[in-house]
């Protein structure tokens, strides 16, 4: 026990309460939720709210129900919506944030004021943002009235109330689509390994790509998750919510990028100029590569916000509009309005897994760099 100095004892004493609280209220409750998701709690209304409910273990039945049950089309649409929402939200925030940061990096007049203005939306809560944008996106007001300023007829686009969707695909094709996408990624990995001369890595990646492709061609078409085709696509009503979310968070990415740009030493830029690079080449070959770690952290933060999003959608479109719904909203309604606690817990667990997909690789890479220091 050579490490038990007074300092160390203090550290342990101070940390213990939070460790205990974390163990119970984060990890304990995660465990409890995952356990509930494997039961049938709430599937029988008579047991849902009983004093001593009879709860049975049903294994993966709730998950099966969500992905292939006839009644859970709403959840599947929400999964598709989440993917589209995440992609457009991240692209929007990164693009707008980078644009603003580049503009501010050129030291315009009143830079501090502009910085405050662009960062300001982030200080609002999603509920406030949602309420403001709900007014702006009213069918007969706000944004739709803009064309009248130049004498054009008012727009009639239903920002939040549209029921149309584009890029539709049959849910039954999901296994094929997933397999093909992963196979293509594996193919790219194999090519890169080949280019850098890593033979084993190339062979493994190429082999898995081939297996996935074969599976997609020969086995997947025979799989039917649902008896009838079920079309899901990108709901146009989501556009309004994406706009509001980008408005809220792009100031944050701007701040990140600006810090990154300011961190690039002027000597590097000058060296590039001396070597004969024009402005575009300088950004492409010097500045952007140096910003890529910032892009990665921004994507992680934005990605988990987008998966968990609830309050913005609730404030903008209400809980019952299935065309703008997201899994977190469905989890709330399923658990607390329909009293189907097990099904709600299953949706929550799926969300946790999705967030983990984003966060865990990031955390482990951070951990590794810290260790190596």
């Amino acid at each position: 026990m050579k490490g038990l100095t007074k300092d160390r004892l203090w550290a342990i004493a101070v940390l213990t309460p939070s460790l205990i609280l974390l163990a119970i209220f984060v990890y304990g409750f995660i465990g409890r939720t995952v356990y509930v998701s494997f039961t049938d709690w709430g599937n029988d209304p008579a047991q849902a709210l009983a004093l001593e409910p009879i709860i049975r273990w049903v294994g993966l039945a709730n998950y099966q129900e969500l992905f292939s049950g006839f009644l859970q089309g709403r959840f599947r649409q929400e999964m598709v919506s989440t993917v589209f929402f995440t992609v457009f939200f991240i692209l929007g925030c990164l693009g707008l944030g980078l644009g603003l940061a580049l503009a501010l990096d050129r030291n315009p007049k009143g830079e501090a004021l502009w910085r405050t203005i662009f960062l300001f939306p982030m200080s609002l809560s999603f509920i406030v943002t949602g309420t403001i944008w709900r007014w702006m996106l009213q069918p007969q007001g706000g944004v739709n009235q803009f064309p009248t300023a130049v004498g054009a007829p008012a727009s009639t686009f239903g920002w939040l109330s549209s029921t149309d969707s584009i890029w539709k695909f049959d849910w039954n094709l999901l296994p094929i689509i997933t397999a093909v996408v992963v196979a293509i990624v594996m193919g790219v990995v194999a090519y890169r390994a080949y280019a850098s001369g890593q033979r084993t890595r190339m062979l493994v990646a190429a082999a898995s790509a081939a297996v996935l492709l074969l599976w997609a061609i020969f086995i997947a078409p025979n799989l039917k998750m649902l008896p009838a085709p079920e079309l899901h696509g990108f709901n146009l009503a989501l556009i309004g919510i994406i706009i509001a979310a980008v408005w809220q968070m792009s100031g944050y990415t701007m701040a990140l990028y600006l810090a990154g740009l300011r961190g690039i030493p002027e000597e590097l830029r000058e060296a590039a100029r001396v070597d004969g690079a024009n402005e575009i080449d300088m950004y492409r070959r010097v500045v952007f590569p140096l910003l890529s770690p910032i892009t990665l952290s921004a994507m992680i933060i934005l990605g988990h916000i987008s998966l968990k999003i609830f309050d913005l959608v609730y404030a903008m479109a209400g809980p019952d509009n299935t065309f703008t719904s997201v899994p977190a909203l469905n989890m709330y309604l399923t658990s607390f309005r329909q009293n189907q606690f097990a099904l709600g817990a299953a949706i929550g667990t799926i969300l946790l897994i999705l967030v983990a997909f984003i966060i865990v690789p990031y955390l482990s890479s951070q951990f590794r760099t810290e260790e190596s220091h």
Binding site: P45, L49, L51, R74, P139, G158, N321, T322, F336, Q338
Partner: protein, 416 residues
Amino acid sequence: MRKVSLKNALLVAAALAVTTSASAAGKLEIFSWWSGDEGPALEALVKLYKQKYPAVAVDNATVSGGAGTNAKAVLKTRMLGGTPPDSFQAHAGQELIGTWVVANRMEDLSALFKSEGWDKAFPKDLTALISSKGGIWSVPVNVHRSNVMWYNPAKLKQWGVTVPKTWPEFITTCATLKAKGVAAPLVMGENWTQQHLWENVMIGTLGAQGWQDLFSGKIKFTDARVVGAFTTFGKVMDCANKDASGLSWQQASDRIVDGTSAFNIMGDWAAGYFTTTKKLAPGTGFGWATAPGTSKVFVMLADSFGLPKGAKNRAEAVNWLKVLGSKAGQDAFNPLKGSIAARIDSDLSKYNTYSRSAATDWKNSKIVGSMAHGAVAPESFMSAFGAIIDQYAASRNSAGAAAAAQQLAVRAGFGK
């Protein structure tokens, strides 16, 4: 020594028991979602209760939020946590029965109904809606009618159309209006108002008996008549505005007032909105008729109070329920709330023009319960059914929607 201390302890315990029971005798907690516009109506009831039982301190635990969306979540936490309020508000019928009665959390009020003579004061159809498994579970305070079609009389005259009596006739009228340049002859609002419209099309097509059979499991949702009614519903939706999901029911009603749309199917709380908020005269400023195909039917929803098992102040809660069910209580509450009394012997002179016509129909019509407002289906069904309506709005697949509804019905245990 030992003996004395034991005696003392017993004395102290007895004294404590007396004080707690004494203080408990003077308390009553009422849990509701009536705030804002509905607050004064609840106040009137509390005042009446205090006149009769002045010693009791009434704790008005209101959780605001339309149709109890927030209150229900708070209630669930309290019930599961073992501290039920003494009496709480719930929509009469399956919303209470399917959630709390099946979970064995409510007390049977049959004896109270008998001793107070309520089995005669309330219509039989209503008592049937709030009963199950040989028990009566709540005391209805008011009644709202949900099968009303609202219109603007001046505009109808200008367009030269009359009020349609059946749904096929409605679709014809809709075509006429569209030809005259009315883009959306019918105005719809957010999700629940679409469910509200769906139920009116369904009752208008199947009839009152068919509607009751649907929710008692005698008719399946996959029945050809139900599928046909879904198709009619689709045609009715074609008459409606495209921006529905962005409108509250008030915003939808505004389009009747300003003449952009001709008809609106909404419950009779719209009458209060038209007269009080919009200052329109009943009959001239706004007109009403029963929803197409439901002329002799009264589709009802009611707010009611029940008695949870384990209520701390049970005796006071029972007295509260007695006030709610009494003639004086109902006539104090309803004119302020804009609803009508559930009792058939209420004093009609206290009500406005619209309410008097509704009260007359309440006595003479066949009474059925509303699905969209919790009378005939439990929350688990209603909440998931909203998604079916939304999917139907996008796909217009009648058979698919009917099949999905049937699965929901099986899960909710219709006909058990």
